[in-house]
């Protein structure tokens, strides 16, 4: 008898447990909130990328929630830090999808981390929007992967055109990061266009993420006497490269891409980075009303000037919100379709139309480093 009571007790516990379980998973999908996952480099060597993007995304999501949310539901943003490591990015994205049951994903800035996360998002059929990964391979992973920025086959040639036509530069040396997909891609597209225009690439030197000494490569570049050095890399290394180039007495103009965009660039690069040019997703001096409105809101909330990563993060979040508002049913498939239909969206970084390859067709902003800030030079497109 005792045994029987004990057994049934255990059974009932078991039952309760089961009920609890099913109850939980129901809750996750039928919640009064919409779960969105964000992954980024909040710490690590490119920490300002993740932090700025996060601020931009939060600005957009908080505004939506303050206005009542989407379809009466609040958006819950679940943020995961990947420490700037591709394997960590893959791990946190898996966690966001399988444990947090997110409906869509926002991230990453660095192309190699987006490339690590995208196959997982594609496998689980969860739409993912990268705010500012420019390597073309990212969206080629599959039909669930989008981006709201231009791609390197555009950014590289734009910089080549600007160097050749505006700066009248004829000889360029390239210093690229062997370990970064972003750097390799940008180098390839820049080199091709620059040669096409009739310019000369004196040499391509290599380094690796995390290196601190670039003097050997720069000494080799110095003897080639280039007019400019193109450095497709992230701001931490760029700052050090600029310093060492000037220490070696190299006077060539320094050129780069959106990976330079960070307030830390001026800190690490100091005097040496002054006068350098790079292509970016936006400029604070752009007359575009959507841009100015974003800058005003951002300054009100964080009391600092947003960089390009913040603007791209803001746009990625707003493109996603627009898609959420459009769909009749909140499922990953429907959201994916709605994102793919994004057309003429007025974003902080310009007008966004998602093309058939799930990339955004936009113009690039060329900016120059001046007095520890950025001066807007011009916008450029290839048409």
């Amino acid at each position: 008898m005792k045994k029987f009571i004990f057994g049934s007790l255990i059974l009932s516990f078991f039952n309760f447990g089961m009920i609890g379980c099913t109850g939980n998973s129901d809750k996750a999908s039928n919640d009064s909130e919409i779960r969105i996952g964000q992954f980024g480099s909040l710490t690590g060597a490119e920490a300002t990328f993740g932090q700025s993007t996060d601020k931009g995304i939060r600005l957009a999501i908080d505004a939506v929630n303050a206005a009542g949310g989407v379809k009466g539901k609040k958006i819950k943003l679940i943020t995961e830090d990947n420490q700037g490591k591709p394997d960590e990015a893959a791990a946190v994205v898996k966690k966001l999808i399988t444990q947090d049951n997110v409906l869509a994903l926002l991230g990453e800035v660095a192309s190699n981390r987006s490339l690590a996360a995208a196959p997982i998002a594609q496998q689980f059929r969860i739409p993912m929007i990268s705010p500012s990964s420019t390597n073309p391979k990212v969206t080629e992973i599959g039909n669930y992967i989008f981006r709201v920025c231009f791609i390197d086959p555009f950014q590289g040639p734009v910089m080549a055109k600007f160097a050749f036509e505006d700066l009248k530069v004829k000889k360029v040396a390239i210093l690229k990061d062997l370990k970064s997909d972003y750097s390799l891609g940008l180098t390839e597209f820049f080199e091709k266009k620059f040669k096409e225009l009739g310019g000369e690439i004196t040499s391509i030197q290599n380094f690796q993420t995390g290196d601190t000494d670039f003097k050997a490569q720069l000494t080799a570049i110095r003897s080639e006497k280039p007019d400019a050095i193109f450095i497709p890399a992230y701001y931490t290394e760029v700052g050090l490269i600029a310093r060492q180039a000037r220490q070696l007495g190299i006077k060539a103009t320094l050129l780069g891409g959106d990976g330079w965009d960070s307030p830390k660039l001026f800190e690490i690069g100091g005097e040496a980075i002054e006068g350098a040019y790079y292509s970016n997703h936006y400029s604070t001096e752009s007359p575009n009303p959507a841009t100015q409105e974003f800058i005003k809101k951002y300054k009100e909330k964080y009391s600092e000037t947003p960089d390009g990563m913040a603007a791209s993060g803001y746009d990625a979040a707003r493109v996603l919100v627009q898609a959420l508002e459009k769909v009749d049913e909140l499922t990953p498939d429907k959201v994916r379709e709605a994102i793919a239909e994004t057309k003429d969206f007025k974003g902080a970084t310009g007008t966004i139309t998602i093309d058939q390859n799930r990339n955004a067709d936009k113009e690039a902003f060329i900016v120059q480093v001046k007095d520890k800030g950025l001066k807007f030079i011009r916008t450029l497109s290839l048409k």
Binding site: N206, T219, R222
Partner: protein, 300 residues
């Protein structure tokens, strides 16, 4: 030719820094037969001590020799303290334990400091305060000799000379050498062995502190994992010169810096780190005791 001379100059600069850190490894090894893996983290903490003390002292607002000397003193003090603490807390309790246990402890301390550093200082790189201004001193054709280059080589040499003087021309140095020779006979002669070992840690860590300031000036990006690779390379430099030998560490460090620079300049930067560890393997095969090491037959 101009390029070659510039490469030599760059390589010597890099090598001087490796030599400073290699000396710390080699000194501890000479006395304790222990590879103190935590040495690289002492160096990292030295760099961060300047970063944080600058927030109070604002040394980078008045760059110059005074600020530079104050920074070196701060880094040396902090590093000595850290070295002493590590020795007292982690290594001394294991004095009688098998060598392998101490070695594993050393690796543990190293990892503990690396990741505590990430938790406390944050993993993002920080800018090392520029306490000394870099000036263009001499120019031969395209070759630039800058004040930093001379400072690094000069200060390293001075620190090494001071170390040589302390070890070979003072009573304390004699005691340290006695402990290195035989710990038990030294203690029979009335030498306080524990005190001498502590002193060795203080001296080695001080050099790491000097190295931290010099590296910080030259490559102003610091982060909690900055010691990892430079520490490994300095360790290889120490083995290359013959671990336990002071001149060996200096020569090993300079060779290491020079060959690294030449590999990047004339081969490819991909081989940069491969070279360091390739060298280690070659040395261990052909000269197990290193360039200046004494070959000792171990009796069973």
């Amino acid at each position: 030719m101009e390029d070659f001379l510039q490469h030599v100059l760059n390589g010597l600069n890099l090598g001087a820094i490796y030599a400073l850190i290699a000396l710390g490894y080699t000194m501890v090894y000479g006395v304790l037969q222990l590879i103190n893996f935590a040495h690289a983290e002492v160096y990292m903490l030295g760099a961060f001590s300047i970063y944080y003390s600058n927030k109070w002292l604002h040394l980078s607002d008045h760059p110059g020799w005074t600020s530079f000397v104050i920074s070196i003193l701060i880094a040396v003090m902090v590093c000595s303290l850290v070295g002493l603490t590590i020795e007292r807390l982690a290594y001394r309790p294991l004095r009688g334990a098998p060598r392998l246990n101490v070695l594993i402890t050393a690796i543990g301390v190293s990892l503990f400091l690396q990741f505590s550093g990430q938790a406390v200082f944050g993993a993002d790189p920080k800018l090392f305060p520029q306490v000394l201004q870099d000036k263009d001193l001499i120019q031969f054709g395209q070759i630039q000799i800058r004040s930093f280059d001379l400072t690094i080589i000069g200060v390293s040499l001075a620190a090494m000379a001071l170390l040589h003087f302390l070890i070979h021309h003072t009573k304390m140095g004699m005691a340290i050498r006695a402990v290195r020779h035989s710990r038990s006979s030294a203690s029979l002669m009335g030498i306080n062995v524990d005190l001498m070992i502590s002193l060795v840690f203080v001296l080695g860590s001080s050099l790491a502190g000097v190295g931290a300031v010099l590296v910080g000036l030259k490559y102003p990006k610091i982060d909690p994992l900055m010691g990892m690779l430079i520490g490994l390379k300095a360790f290889v430099a120490a083995v290359l010169g013959g671990i336990g030998s002071l001149p060996g560490a200096v020569v090993g460090g300079l060779l290491m810096g020079l060959s690294e620079e030449m590999v990047v300049a004339y081969l490819s930067s991909t081989y940069r780190d491969a070279l360091a560890f390739g060298l280690l393997i070659v040395i261990l095969v052909f000269r197990p005791s290193g360039l200046f090491g004494k070959y000792e037959v171990e009796k069973v």
